[in-house]
């Protein structure tokens, strides 16, 4: 099949699934709905594999399959096609999206089977995938933006899926509004780029990217990329717009796995990697990205230390890991960012699904203080969760180790890196190891604190198979990008990842001033792994062996603990500094300006219009033929004018 056909099927298959499920959204036949949705995504996955194969078959510099279905907008010089492109970056993305997506769909059949709105759920899920694929494949920023908004909408719909609970509905709205702020910046960024380059096609933009560094803060590229980055912070939950993601855990757990861990939230990183030639020439933007990423990684990790909701812990961990990805792209390690994006998609989806399995087993209980000792009830879930845990804390040879280590190494060694960024990353890694171990300990190990009325049970096969597949991927997923130092050590295993992405990644123009030796890399690797191991061990002891040790530590830190436990009062600060003043200012405007000035003026205009209207009304007497006569008279006058004039 031609690649045009494959791309069309890839895109349309989830849409067809959405329509099929959407028209019968009242049905509660979970098996049918789930089969349709899963089948649709599986078809997409097959197409994605076929496309990937075609891409592999091409010589590296020609690996770019494009298709343009129709001309979407054509206004003057502004032309946008409904064009889609599969190249090295987007091929990986569609593989992740459809592959992980189909596993999560499969999982959902088991997870959602008792829900009344199951058909609606699957319809949303398919629609999300459709939009995500548009986002990923779109060949221009505008096409991407369509998907960008579409996934935002689906995210809103799915977070507020149980909208009868007002807290969950509010979480959906919070996500939506927070995203809007970012989207506004994204649009402004598009304007700036279009004004500068006259196109929104990403391939052309990359080609047009200037070769000279832009050192000014007010340069067009810097401003445009900065704006795009602000858009990315909204979608990818970075400081300052990360607040929606923890709340987004109100949605069904598979949704958290698919949207809020594996795919949608990584859109920001993807966008930056896509446009890397532009970002490279704006070092200031890169610096901002790196700092924001590092700060987010640490900040979210600290908040994760104190959370007690199993999904909130994972949510902050996601924010933190996304911070790592931004750190990576901020220091120019785009490949490493993408690499971590992929491994993170595996192990975080795995952990979310695992937590879903736990929640399912615990009958909707999410508080880890009421768990413990689940290991013997949920053997498969526990085993796969352990794989995810090892991957996220960066234990070699699990997937997370390679990607995280590569990021840390680049944070240190890259010309745009800095030792401080490395330190922040290492602290983040240490904290990650700690809170993830804490999560494991409180949930699976130690003594059981499970309520007597709850009888945990292992989930059905339809839920555990995705866990096992993702578990396997969490182990081997990192082996495609083994760093040079290790590969030289164990025998020459090529770094597939780097080779694959090479044609699309722009090299940083600054030559590295300091030559970094392999010893340095080994040392840094050893430091970060051992820090993580130590902190994991500490957490293990603290939460399983020595009961009460955790409280002692908390008391010792007192006010700091309280600050972290309340998530640094960020939500409250946003309310106090932005939202409340905005509301009261609006109220004042309404009371004084609106009532006295605007309303009065409009009333006057209304009176005028009403007076005119009562005159015109006499013409509109309901006599259709009279109306027709006016039309004819109008035509006569217009025609006479044209003939005479």
């Amino acid at each position: 099949m031609s690649h045009q056909m494959l791309i069309a099927i890839l895109l349309l298959s989830p849409l067809v699934g959405f329509i099929l499920n959407g028209v019968r959204f009242r049905s509660s036949n979970y098996l049918l709905a789930g089969s349709i949705a899963t089948g649709a995504v599986a078809v997409s996955f097959a197409c994605a594999i076929a496309l990937f194969m075609q891409l592999v078959g091409l010589p590296p510099e020609q690996r770019r399959l494009t298709v343009s279905f129709f001309e979407w907008i054509s206004v003057g010089s502004f032309k946008v096609n409904a064009g889609f492109v599969v190249d090295q970056i987007s091929a990986i993305m569609i593989l992740i999206i459809t592959g992980v997506g189909s596993l999560i769909h499969l999982f959902s059949i088991g997870y959602m089977h008792h829900d009344k709105g199951v058909t609606k759920y699957f319809a949303y899920l398919n629609f999300f995938l459709f939009n995500m694929l548009i986002l990923v494949l779109g060949d221009s920023l505008l096409t991407m933006f369509v998907g960008w908004e579409g996934v935002g909408l689906c995210s809103y719909l799915l977070i507020g899926f149980w909208f009868n609970d007002s807290a969950k509905a509010a979480a959906g709205m919070k996500a939506f509004i927070t995203n809007r702020i970012g989207d506004a910046a994204f649009i402004i960024g598009m304007f700036i780029l279009f004004m500068t380059f006259g196109t929104l096609n990403m391939h052309e933009l990359n080609g047009l990217a200037p070769t000279i560094m832009e050192s000014s803060w007010l340069g067009a590229v810097t401003l445009g990329t900065l704006m795009l980055f602000i858009g990315a912070t909204g979608k990818s939950a970075q400081i300052p717009l990360y607040v929606w993601l923890p709340d987004a855990m109100a949605g069904p757990t598979p949704v958290s796995a698919l949207i809020h861990a594996a795919t949608m939230v990584t859109a920001g990183v993807y966008m930056i990697v896509r446009l890397n030639p532009l970002f490279v020439v704006a070092p200031n933007t890169m610096m901002v990205i790196a700092i924001v990423g590092a700060a987010t990684a640490v900040l979210a990790a600290t908040i994760g230390l104190t959370q007690t909701d199993i999904k909130k812990v994972l949510a902050y961990s996601t924010v933190s890991q996304l911070g790592y990805m931004f750190l990576a792209v901020g220091v120019g390690a785009f490949g490493a960012g993408m690499f971590h994006l992929m491994t993170h998609a595996f192990f975080k989806a795995l952990m979310f699904l695992g937590s879903g399995s736990v929640i399912h087993a615990m009958h909707e209980e999410q508080d880890i203080r009421k768990m413990g000792g689940l290991k013997k009830y949920l053997p498969i879930t526990h085993f796969t969760f352990v794989l995810g845990w090892l991957a996220i804390i960066g234990m070699p040879p699990f997937a997370g180790f390679f990607s995280k280590d590569e990021i840390l190494w680049f944070a240190y060694s890259s010309p745009r890196g800095h030792i401080l960024l490395w330190i922040a990353g290492a602290i983040g890694a240490t904290l990650t190891a700690f809170y993830m171990t804490r999560l494991m300990a409180l949930t699976f190990w130690g003594s059981s604190r499970v309520d007597k009325s709850v009888h945990p049970h292992e989930s059905p096969l339809v839920m555990t198979i995705p866990l096992m597949v993702l578990g396997l991927l969490s182990v081997i997923g990192g082996w495609v990008g083994i760093p040079h130092v290790i590969s030289e050590f164990v025998g020459h295993i090529p770094n597939f990842w780097e080779h694959w992405l090479e044609p699309l990644i722009t090299k940083l123009p600054e030559a590295s001033q300091v030559a970094h030796s392999a010893t340095e890399e080994w040392a840094l690797m050893g430091v970060s792994v051992s820090l993580a191991s130590i902190s994991a061990l500490a957490a293990f002891i603290m939460y399983t062996k020595k009961a009460g040790a955790a409280d002692k530590v908390a008391n010792a830190f007192g006010p700091v603990y309280k600050l972290v436990d309340n998530k640094y009062y960020v939500d409250e600060a946003y309310f106090g500094v932005i939202i409340n003043p905005l509301v009261s200012a609006s109220r004042d405007l309404w009371h004084y300006v609106d009532v006295n000035v605007i309303d009065k003026a409009t009333y006057k205009i209304t009176d005028l219009v009403r007076g005119g209207g009562s005159f015109v009304r006499s013409l509109q007497n309901g006599n259709m033929q009279q109306y027709a006569m006016y039309v004819v008279l109008g035509v006569v006058i217009a025609l006479s004018y044209m003939l005479v004039g």
């Binding site: 007497n621 309901g622 006599n623 259709m624 033929q625 027709a628 006569m629 004819v632």
Partner: protein
């Protein structure tokens, strides 16, 4: 003005004038008749006049789009007649009235 050539050389203008006359007759029907069904018929007449123009242009400029347009116009005219007559029948069944002026009473 009507020279012999006007009578013997049939050109695009003849068809257009014919179309214009038909259109005007239909327009007069719409403006003057009071039976709602005759009004519909007059509208059909106007549409036919337009169709003649379309086909004429299509023929003389060798573009098929005009004919496709006529195809569409016919479809839409038929659809319009169907709905219009269904409405007229509904109203006739209830009020025994087809006068266009009566329909004024139906306004909100």
């Amino acid at each position: 003005m009507p020279s012999t050539s006007f009578l013997t050389d049939i050109s695009i203008n003849h068809y257009l004038i014919l179309s214009a006359i038909l259109f005007s007759i239909g327009m007069a029907g719409v403006l003057l008749r009071r039976n709602i069904i005759v009004l519909f018929m007059s509208i059909e007449l106007m549409l036919n006049a337009v169709n003649i123009s379309f086909v004429t242009f299509s023929h003389y400029f060798d573009k098929v789009d005009g004919q496709v347009m006529v195809f569409f116009v016919m479809t839409i005219a038929a659809a319009e007649a169907a709905v219009g007559l269904a409405l007229a029948v509904s109203i006739f069944k209830r009020f025994k009235e087809v006068n266009i002026r009566f329909f004024e009473h139906l306004k909100g």
